[in-house]
């Protein structure tokens, strides 16, 4: 049962990717396609961050363990969409011209924090296997608390890049704050 559930989640998680590839190659992204891809992959990264963070509270509320079983996969999808997002910016938008990219990373705080968030994801993705969990033991849990920092960086990235309309970035930030607050409460009661 859990196997099919996992497969279902995988298929659902890959749908945004299939959609954006289709739209890219068949010119369905409107007048500013590169911006569309950037926003799309960025938003899905945030959605997967929220989903990943929602798993352990869900386990608490429902007393079901399978939420934790899909958490790793959702976390890896965070890395997947974040990498696509970064690649769109570096490869498609700036065509690997490093000078303007480096300028952006150093000078623009939203680029800096976004890039930092992606860097922090690397150790998490690299230590996601069962084997690494065994090797790292208690440290694994500590290391993977980095996702809280990444989530905050991600929401700041979105807020800082917005012009005057903060509605959507604020919604994501509120969800992330809520999901983080749920954890603090759990620690005190258990």
């Amino acid at each position: 049962m859990i196997k099919y559930f996992k497969q279902g989640v995988f298929v659902l998680s890959i749908i945004p990717f299939v959609l954006i590839v289709y739209k890219t190659f068949y010119n369905k992204l409107g007048p500013e396609p590169v911006k569309e891809i950037t926003h799309f992959t960025g938003e899905w990264t945030l959605i997967f961050i929220c989903l990943t963070l929602a798993m352990s509270p869900l386990k608490r509320f429902t007393n079901l363990n399978f939420w934790i079983k899909i958490r790793r996969m959702l976390g890896l999808f965070v890395f997947f969409y974040a990498t696509l997002h970064l690649f769109t910016y570096v490869g498609i938008d700036y065509r690997f011209e490093w000078q303007p990219i480096l300028d952006d990373v150093v000078k623009k705080k939203y680029v800096f924090i976004g890039f930092a968030a992606w860097l922090l994801l690397i150790p998490l993705a690299a230590t996601s296997s069962q084997k690494m969990i065994k090797i790292l033991k208690q440290n694994w849990k500590k290391l993977h608390k980095l996702i809280y920092v990444i989530a905050i960086f991600g929401s700041l990235h979105y807020i800082w890049l917005s012009k005057t309309i903060f509605f959507k970035p604020l919604i994501y930030s509120l969800i992330i704050i809520l999901l983080l607050l749920l954890r603090i409460r759990f620690k005190k009661t258990t």
Binding site: Y26, P31, E32, P33, V34, K35, P100, K107, K163, I165
Partner: protein
């Protein structure tokens, strides 16, 4: 950089025919399915002086009065009423006047003026506007010696303009120019585009266009032009004075605090086209650079 003449620009139709001809050449060698994939037949950047399509010009707009997303203005402006329309020219003038749209179109002949539009967000279009120099309209009044700046006020009508029901900007939209900028022949009163009446989403019935400044300086649906003594505070300056200056000249060397202005994307080019270098004064330096001699453009951004 010289002004682009209409004859130097490939009209949309010819451009499209050319594309479909190239496409049909490809048919022999590759399958239909493959040649319809954009990646394979539009990998090269098109000439930056080619006209942007009517569709892109009229469906991809920043016009917050009708909503903040790019497709909102087209969707939400169709029922906008532009008749009757009156423009007041007042302030530091000997005698204030009011002109109806009918009077304006009788007084001034609109000509085709092809200008690049560079948005502060880092994209650009080439638009065949219909219009005439603002100086002609302003010459209908005699400014007093106190007049140093010109302020433009757009219409305020939240019943028709959804976006004005939210405090996104301080409505009505407000912009301004120094008197010499306003009198410059490139500063245009726009009444149409592509030889047609100006669509609502592009600022009907009357807007201004200042080709060497970022797009937001070119106020739409203007109802009031006011000569003033002190530098006006535009809506965007109100919203974020650190990010939007009064001058807002296109300048690749002065970054917006949150993004670089060194390059831009040309609208309609597709995913695989590279960014192009942004030109000083959007390429109109020969005509307008003398307005700013001796000014530190980093300070007066």
């Amino acid at each position: 950089m010289k002004k682009i003449k209409y004859s130097e620009i490939t009209p949309e139709k010819i451009y499209k025919n050319r594309r479909s001809f190239i496409k049909s050449l490809g048919l022999g060698a590759s399958s239909l399915a493959i040649s319809s994939i954009s990646f394979l037949n539009s990998a090269s950047a098109k000439n930056r002086d080619e006209l942007t399509s009517y569709k892109d010009i009229t469906t991809y707009n920043n016009y917050y009065e009708f909503g903040t997303s790019k497709s909102d203005p087209y969707r939400n402006s169709q029922i906008f009423k532009t008749t009757p329309w009156e423009i007041a020219i007042e302030g530091e003038v000997e005698k204030a006047i009011k002109l109806s749209m009918e009077e304006i179109s009788e007084m001034f002949v609109s000509e085709e003026r092809i200008y690049r539009l560079r948005c502060v967000e880092g994209w650009s279009m080439v638009i065949p506007w219909m219009g005439f120099s603002l100086s002609k309209l302003l010459s209908k009044v005699n400014p007093t010696s106190k007049a140093k700046f010109v302020e433009f006020e757009s219409i305020y009508d939240p019943t028709q303009m959804k976006g004005q029901r939210y405090p996104v900007l301080n409505w009505p939209y407000n912009e301004g120019l120094r008197l010499d900028e306003a009198m410059h022949p490139l500063t245009t009163v726009v009444t149409g585009l592509y030889g047609k009446k100006l669509p609502n989403q592009n600022g009907a019935p009357l807007r201004i266009f200042i080709p060497w400044k970022y797009g937001f300086k070119s106020a739409k649906a203007i109802v009031k032009i006011k000569f003033v003594e002190n530098m006006p505070t535009s809506s965007w300056m109100w919203a974020s004075p650190r990010e939007y200056g009064f001058y807002s000249n296109v300048n690749p060397n002065v970054d917006h605090p949150r993004w670089s202005q060194a390059t831009e994307r040309i609208i309609g080019e597709g995913v695989w086209a590279p960014r192009v270098k942004t030109l000083m004064f959007n390429g109109y330096g020969d005509e307008v650079a003398n307005l700013y001699t001796g000014m530190d453009l980093k300070k007066y951004f």
